[in-house]
Symmetry: C2
Subunit: 129 residues, 2 copies
């Protein structure tokens, strides 16, 4: 899988299942009110459920993975896909079981906050529809 | 050069010198207040001078190019580079003379506006420091 950015650091176990490698590209500030970074999820790895007060945009740059908004079907994501998750909406994202996924994330409206972490995604949720 | 997104449409001659191919990935709306897209500049191609009322973030995903903020030296950009241009600040970006450049652009704070186009970048400016 082609990498476009340095691998970065492993996301903390309290917020991720498996290995998710994160590198920040743009730190939020008052002028741009935007946080940008790159995450590589190893196969099977995923975020906990979480919300963003200002929403989130994902741009998939390699591999295969999933995105799920609470109460909706799990979406399959591939290179070139763009996903939006509305403000204050519970969601998770991660790799497929057999192929990793690389994504850019954009968190807009960071004057409202960046992220609120919730419970892990269970195997039943991860493997479900 | 690896493409991550469809090539899109050629930017209009009144805003670009040479061939710059643009595809929108996220249209601005009131929830995300963010516009995202991908541009491939063919070698020698560049934008006109322009400003963004809410600033702009560029993420270089392939090739070699330039970014210049008015009154500052021209920066050379390569894959993995991240550039920020502050709100209401005159700038231009484009490819190097011999190698194209592919970039993602993020325009935040679109509630303030998206872009204001100005005059072309002359050959003297393009080839200068």
């Amino acid at each position: 899988m082609q990498r476009h950015f340095p691998k970065g650091k492993r996301g903390p176990a309290e917020n991720f299942t498996g290995n998710a490698w994160n590198i920040g590209l743009v730190d939020a500030d008052s002028a741009y009110t935007t946080s940008v970074g790159n995450v590589y999820f190893e196969p099977g790895a995923r975020s906990n459920w979480h919300t963003h007060p200002g929403g989130q945009i994902l741009i998939i740059t390699a591999g295969v993975g999933f995105h799920q908004i609470v109460g909706q079907p799990k979406q399959i994501l591939r290179k070139g896909d763009v996903v939006k998750c509305p403000p204050n909406t519970l969601h998770w994202h991660g790799a497929s079981p057999d192929v990793g996924m690389q994504q850019l994330y954009i968190v807009p409206n960071t004057d409202k906050g960046i992220v609120e972490w919730k419970q892990p995604v269970t195997d039943q949720e991860y493997n479900g529809q």
